[in-house]
């Protein structure tokens, strides 16, 4: 199950479903909420139209039909793919947009909310994800080799959160928090005491409450959310590019804080893929992080506070 947002909705907050999860918007000035909501809804709709893997009319679908030929793309899709390729570069290929075929093969071939709980066995042929460096983006000229299917799920939501927060703060002149399925970006001034974020995957899981400073971002990646079954195999949406299969669930969740949500989400996703090796990697990077192991034990790194009894 994706994140179910259960926090109260006051006059400074709007909340709705998007991409099979919850969008939540909080502003420091309630009077700005209608305009801020319109901005976020519009940006999210534009991003969906640009890069949805599940819409035949999306720009990404037209890229796939180019069959390896260079294609001019919109500035928005170029920004989204650029973010995905930077994530691949920064993680040595651990988080790559070239996992589209792997996800579809494993059964994640439609909006998550429409996935049946159990997919039929399909005689799976699983291969490593293609090398992300085969995808070329020069300005707005994109070349995706024939046979390579892109999925921007690892970074598009975080990119959307960053863009929405920045735009709301700029146009409305208020402090803002944008959460898209738990990928959280903030911009503008924070409320007194900072932005308070509950970090938790599902009810009953270890949780903690942290305070983000103005401009802070936080992302959590999980091997227990957005899961489904294919025959007798439990699967989830984070693909290990080396195997083309769901990453081994060494961690239940990994949360990372940064100054932009794409960075936070790139690191949290890569940590899931890296498994046990993620601890030393994140520690060396200096990223505040919280890793919950499959047995429920919690690792906190680089100043992550021991709050909420987690």
């Amino acid at each position: 199950m994706p994140l179910l947002e259960r926090l109260p909705v006051g006059d400074d907050c709007a909340q709705w479903m998007v991409w099979g999860t919850v969008a939540r918007l909080v502003v420091t000035e309630p009077a700005a909420l209608p305009e801020a909501t319109a901005i976020v809804r519009s940006e999210v709709a534009n991003i969906d139209e640009a890069c949805s893997r599940f819409r035949p009319d999306s720009e990404l679908a037209r890229v796939a039909s180019a069959a390896g030929r260079p294609m001019r793309v919109s500035g928005l899709l170029a920004a989204l793919i650029g973010a995905a390729l930077r994530a691949a570069r920064d993680t040595g290929g651990g988080v790559t947009p070239t996992v589209g075929a792997a996800l579809a093969t494993l059964g994640y071939d439609r909006d998550f909310a429409l996935l049946p709980a159990r997919r039929p066995a399909a005689g799976l042929a699983i291969y490593p994800a293609p090398d992300w460096r085969r995808v070329r983006l020069d300005g707005d000229l994109l070349t995706v080799p024939a046979g390579v299917e892109l999925d921007l799920g690892a970074t598009a939501k975080a990119t959307a959160a960053d863009r929405c927060a920045a735009t709301v703060a700029d146009r409305c002149g208020v402090g803002v928090l944008v959460s898209l399925g738990g990928d959280i970006a903030t911009a503008g001034p924070a409320p007194e005491g900072g932005w308070r974020v509950l970090v938790r995957d599902r009810p009953g899981d270890p949780e903690c409450l942290v305070t983000l400073p103005a401009g802070g971002a936080l992302a959590t990646s999980s091997t227990v959310s957005r899961g489904w079954r294919n025959a007798d195999e439990a699967l989830h949406h984070i693909i290990d590019p080396q195997t083309g299969r769901s990453a081994r669930p060494f961690w239940r969740t990994v949360s990372v804080a940064a100054f932009d949500c794409v960075r936070a989400n790139t690191l949290s996703t890569a940590a899931v893929v890296r498994g046990q090796r993620a601890v030393s990697w994140l520690r060396d990077l200096g990223a505040p992080a919280r890793l919950v192991a499959a047995d429920g034990s919690v690792n906190r790194l680089n100043g992550w506070p021991p709050a909420g009894g987690a």
Binding site: L7, R89, G94, P213, A217, P288, G308
Partner: protein, 95 residues
């Protein structure tokens, strides 16, 4: 450093073959090689270098700015504090 030298050699080769018109591409290779100097080890992906230069990835950052905090301690990472008890303004969970 080895990767950077290899990238620079490749850049020189491309330049020699393609002439002036390839300078931009060669620079892209050099930039990509430079960017890879600080890259973390690969996680085992099948990433044999095909020699491609991707100018779109030589930039860093997300392309958006959400603003640095006045509480930034200069580490490049936000300083978190415990939120105490009560409810938050949002939940970060798996998505």
């Amino acid at each position: 450093m080895i990767g950077r030298e290899r990238g620079l050699r490749r850049a020189a080769k491309i330049t020699a073959v393609m002439g002036v018109a390839s300078v931009t591409g060669a620079l892209g290779v050099a930039l990509a090689a430079h960017a890879n100097d600080g890259a973390t080890p690969a996680t085992g992906t099948s990433t044999s270098d095909d020699g491609s230069a991707n100018a779109g990835t030589s930039d860093s950052g997300s392309g958006t700015t959400t603003g640095q905090s006045s509480t930034d301690d200069g580490s490049g990472w936000p300083s978190l504090s415990g939120g105490g008890s009560g409810s938050g303004q949002a939940t970060s969970g798996g998505s």
